[in-house]
């Protein structure tokens, strides 16, 4: 029997606002334990939350960029449970009435584009973290670091529209790119500012009803999400083929072992006793503000890829590589503004040097001049690479370095004819052998000319001149 998988993803994106969602503490990562805390985020008696407007702004922009409908009125609720990393013993989240509903993202697959639905986008606060002395089970003490308490999170829930791990990977990458383009999240999966849980089930091809799903957690890279899904889909199919049933449960991805395992300790159906938080008024997002924010939405990855392919004749693959970062794509176009004769070569260069570009160590002129000099034969491919490296190292204009190091090639036929004659005159025997049929000697002559010009000759031109002179 053939099976197909049904996958839905829940993404928690940490919003990159300066302060937390309900107090003025810094939301920055990496401060000493409990440094970024105050009576509000540590749940002292009598304190009250006050919603950070910027957090709402970031979420509204995300909703607009994913074609969601922003609700005029949404409500914050309390999710009640006891845990030492949750100082109030409830998490403020949106439950029944989330900020935005019913959007979508288009992803690119080999077979064409596919639309993945977005169920909802809502806001909530993060919890702190516990540090255990020793192994969790037998720890002598547990220490609470509440820096992360009330750091703003945006949860983006997809429809169960994905059918393969690759689709899930593409959706995640595209979503991450959109958030990074909007500058609302840094998209860093390893540091946990972009987290993903997956719901996955399998069903016989053609069946309409969903199978029993498992929820996968603990996947801290795009590659791991795909691998975990591959493994879990295979596991579920094998169970069904063995006549067993898939159990509804939460499973953790063990990246080292490459398997998913049931979460230890029973995740019994928790009753969170949600109710609207009486400390916060319903959130009202005015239409005028939404329209104002709509104007701030930049060109998004999908639109950019299409435009780059149309305008510069790039392949979708190359355009996709360039569009993986808004800054890289901008850099590419700035380079083209300086020298635009060969967008394909410029694109290759941009992708090749993308780390230096991201680090701001290289200017669009550097790439433009390197491409231009190479296109015109003024420098060799080797020299070009060397020059860009030097420009990164020293921060100086690439052409200044080129002239100083004398890395220009001689491509002038007239100038090279003289040297060629000189070399041929000095090697009469070889000339005779060549003319007698030893064609392989051509490279010997090229070598001699290069030696004579101290490597500055353009080898392609040298060959041409030699062939002509030798007849």
């Amino acid at each position: 029997m053939e099976f197909e998988a049904v996958i839905g993803l829940e993404v928690h994106a940490q919003l990159s606002t300066g302060s937390k969602i309900f107090c003025a503490c810094s939301a920055a990562f990496g401060a000493p334990p409990n440094e970024n805390t105050c009576p509000v985020c540590t749940g002292m008696p009598g304190v009250l939350p006050v919603l950070n407007r910027r957090v709402v702004e970031f979420a509204v922009r995300t909703a607009l960029a994913t074609s969601c409908a922003v609700r005029k009125k949404s409500v914050f609720a309390r999710k009640n449970y006891f845990y030492p990393d949750l100082p109030k013993a409830y998490q403020i989240s949106q439950y029944e009435l989330p900020l935005a509903l019913a959007g979508h993202i288009d992803i690119e697959l080999e077979g064409g584009a596919k639309r993945i639905g977005i169920t909802r986008i809502h806001l909530e606060e993060d919890a702190g973290k516990l540090v255990h002395e020793g192994e969790f089970a037998g720890a002598q003490a547990s220490l609470a670091d509440l820096n992360r308490c009330s750091v703003p999170l945006m949860e983006i829930v997809s429809e169960p529209d994905m059918r393969t791990p690759e689709e899930a990977g593409e959706y995640l990458r595209r979503l991450r790119d959109i958030l990074v383009y909007l500058e609302v999240c840094d998209g860093n999966m390893e540091e946990g500012s972009f987290r993903c849980d997956a719901n996955v089930s399998v069903r016989p091809m053609g069946q309409k009803e969903f199978g029993t799903k498992a929820e996968l957690k603990n996947m801290n890279s795009f590659r791991n999400v795909e691998k975990a899904l591959e493994h879990e889909i295979r596991r579920q199919i094998e169970r069904i083929e063995d006549g067993d049933k898939v159990v509804q449960e939460t499973r953790l991805w063990d990246a080292a072992a490459g398997v998913t395992v049931p979460m230890r300790g029973k995740e019994e159906a928790h009753d969170y006793r949600y109710f609207p938080d009486p400390d916060l008024l319903p959130l009202i997002v005015e239409e005028a503000w939404v329209e104002e924010l709509r104007q701030t939405i930049p060109e998004l990855p999908g639109e950019k890829i299409t435009r780059l392919t149309r305008t510069y004749g790039l392949s979708r693959y190359d355009a996709g590589l360039l569009s993986s970062s808004r800054a890289l794509a901008d850099f590419f176009e700035e380079s083209l503004a300086v020298f635009g004769d060969n967008p394909k070569v410029t694109a290759n260069e941009c992708v090749h040097w993308k780390e230096a570009i991201a680090a701001g160590k290289i200017s669009p002129e550097t790439i433009a001049h390197a491409v231009e000099d190479r296109e015109k034969g003024t420098i060799s491919a080797t020299a070009s690479k060397k020059l860009v490296e030097l420009a990164i190292e020293t921060g100086r204009p690439i052409r200044e370095i080129r002239d100083e190091k004398g890395l220009t090639q001689v491509s002038d036929t007239g100038a090279l004819e003289e040297t060629v004659s000189k070399v041929l005159a000095a090697n009469p025997k070889e000339v005779e052998s060549y003319r007698g049929g030893k064609a392989g000697l051509l490279s010997f002559f090229v070598g001699q000319v290069m030696k004579e010009t101290r490597g500055k000759a353009n080898p392609r031109i040298v060959q041409e001149v030699l062939k002509k002179t030798l007849g």
Binding site: P39, T42, G43, M44, P45, G46, V47, L48, P49, V50, L51, R78, N80, F82, P84, P87, K88, A89, Y90, S142, A144, D271, R273, Y274, F275, P278, D279, L280, L281
Partner: protein, 487 residues
């Protein structure tokens, strides 16, 4: 001098008739003498108060006053966080809690120049009508020491009635300012929800809690409200409206004021005949001053108590979940793991009434019961709010008894929570509707116990209440300080 009103004490300090130190010393001496019996204070700040009084006197010598309460000693219910000063909320679970911050109310009272005498006794987490649920033992009614001073702000009302401060600030979730004010023979106002910031005021039921004055005169209450009212950026539910001149309102005439009498409040059983008579006399006083009496109906009144005892415990069950022994307050000693530590901390730290309400509230919010209880109670709340809207389209204020009976005896109702809950039957609808309410003394029972009349007003129309209550106060003169065997 302990009988002076807040306003006259403030004037005498300002005009240097008396120093803040003399005034503060006198009250501290009274606290030392009477508090062991009254148990109105759980924390007395003797040294700090004298130091602050000295600073007030020195500032005055230089011609500076901090604000309208410069140098006048006052108290705060122990529910308002005070930076560096233990704040217990009447509970064992916070018996050692020292907040690193001031409540907004605390900050406003201090910056008005008042001298803080101490923190006043209360029912644990404001859950009670008698101060009997306090971890620090019950406070006593200065008019009859074997009787309750009401609750939950019983310590504050007792302190005001015993001359152990010139004014206090309490909190009211279902009557916790008005009922103790009523049974202690003093004035107590619950402002409109959103009028006074709740920041730093330890939460019982967030959608109902409101801080307000307990004083010996209506103008004193108006003064305290003008000090503590106003928008606060740290409380999203506080309302950004200007604070009117409340003191001026106390001087206005009630001529033409329409006073509504809700049929339902006088129909039920349990209303003491003496209380009924006193309230009827109060109405006569108002009409003799030119007010107009109108009978009105608040048909959903009989559902108020039930709705309240779902909503308040539901919010409390969540608000009190943070007391888990992890970060501050009491922590049980135990060898077991996390769950055991948290469970034992809460088992040891909370008293019976708090546990009862946490359990009621947890149940009411549970999956499968939420709609039947919490959802339904919210609908009742909407109906009660509409009742008042309808009534206020016809009248300006509503007159009712504050408490169905004068002060009952200590221990009389502790075994019967339901009878205890009925103490607040007339005060609860006001909190559910979010409107302001004041209790003003209107008579004495045959046993010599104070009786209070309650006036309810429109949202953010505290002026109407001050105007009517001041007229009652002028026309029905009553002693405001209990004799305390000193007469």
């Amino acid at each position: 001098m302990h009988e002076w009103t807040l306003l006259s004490a403030a004037r005498k300090v300002r005009e240097k008739e008396i120093s803040s130190r003399e005034l503060t010393r006198a009250i501290l001496d009274r606290i030392e003498r009477h508090n062991p019996r009254i148990n109105a204070y759980v924390t007395v700040l003797t040294e700090k108060a004298m130091k602050d009084a000295l600073a007030c006197d020195e500032a005055l010598q230089k011609g500076r006053t901090l604000g309208p309460l410069h140098g006048v000693p006052v108290g705060l219910k122990d529910i308002f966080c005070t930076r560096g000063i233990r704040t217990t909320c009447g509970s064992r679970i916070l018996h050692n809690f020292i907040p690193p911050y001031d409540a907004t109310v605390t900050g406003k009272v201090l910056s008005s120049g008042a001298v803080l005498l101490g923190k006043q006794n209360m029912d644990e987490f404001a859950m009670g009508s008698s101060t009997e649920t306090s971890h620090f033992g019950p406070a006593r009614n200065p008019w009859a020491l074997d009787r309750i001073p009401g609750g939950s702000s019983g310590g504050t009302a007792a302190a005001v009635a015993a001359g152990l401060c010139f004014a206090g600030v309490g909190t009211d979730t279902g009557g916790s300012i008005r009922q103790p004010a009523s049974v202690c023979g003093v004035v107590g106002l619950k402002p409109t929800y959103g009028r006074v910031s709740r920041y730093g005021m330890i939460a019982f039921a967030s959608s109902l809690d409101q801080g307000g004055p307990i004083t010996r005169s209506v103008p004193d209450a108006a003064m305290i409200l003008s000090v503590i009212a106003g928008h606060d950026r740290r409380d999203s539910t506080s309302v950004d409206l200007p604070v009117p001149d409340y003191l001026a309102a106390t001087r206005e005439s009630v001529k033409g004021l329409k006073v509504g009498l809700p049929r339902e409040y006088f129909e039920g059983e349990g209303l003491d005949p003496g209380v009924r008579a006193a309230v009827e006399k109060t109405l006569a006083v108002l009409t003799s001053q030119g007010a107009q009496a109108l009978e009105i109906s608040l048909p959903h009144t009989r559902y108020a108590l039930s709705a309240y005892y779902i909503i308040a415990p539901a919010e409390a069950s969540s608000n009190l979940a943070r007391y888990d022994g992890v970060r501050y307050g009491h922590r049980a000693r135990c060898e077991g793991g996390l769950i055991e530590m948290m469970s034992r901390t809460r088992a040891e730290g909370f008293g019976a009434e708090v546990k009862r309400r946490v359990m009621i509230g947890t149940y009411a919010l549970s999956a499968g019961y939420y709609e039947a209880y919490y959802g339904k109670a919210q609908k009742v709340r909407t109906l009660i709010r509409r009742d008042f809207e309808e009534a206020f389209s016809k009248v300006d204020v509503i007159l009712t008894p504050t408490s169905p009976t004068p002060a009952f005896r200590i221990g009389e109702r502790t075994g019967d929570p339901l009878t205890m809950y009925l103490s607040d039957i007339f005060t609860i609808p006001c909190n559910l509707a979010g409107i302001p309410g004041i209790s003003v003394p209107c008579g004495m029972s045959r046993e010599g116990l104070p009786i209070g009349a309650q006036l309810l007003g429109k949202h953010f129309r505290e002026e109407d209440l001050f105007m009517a209550a001041a007229a009652i106060e002028r026309e029905i003169p009553l002693p405001r300080v209990a004799p305390m065997g000193e007469a």
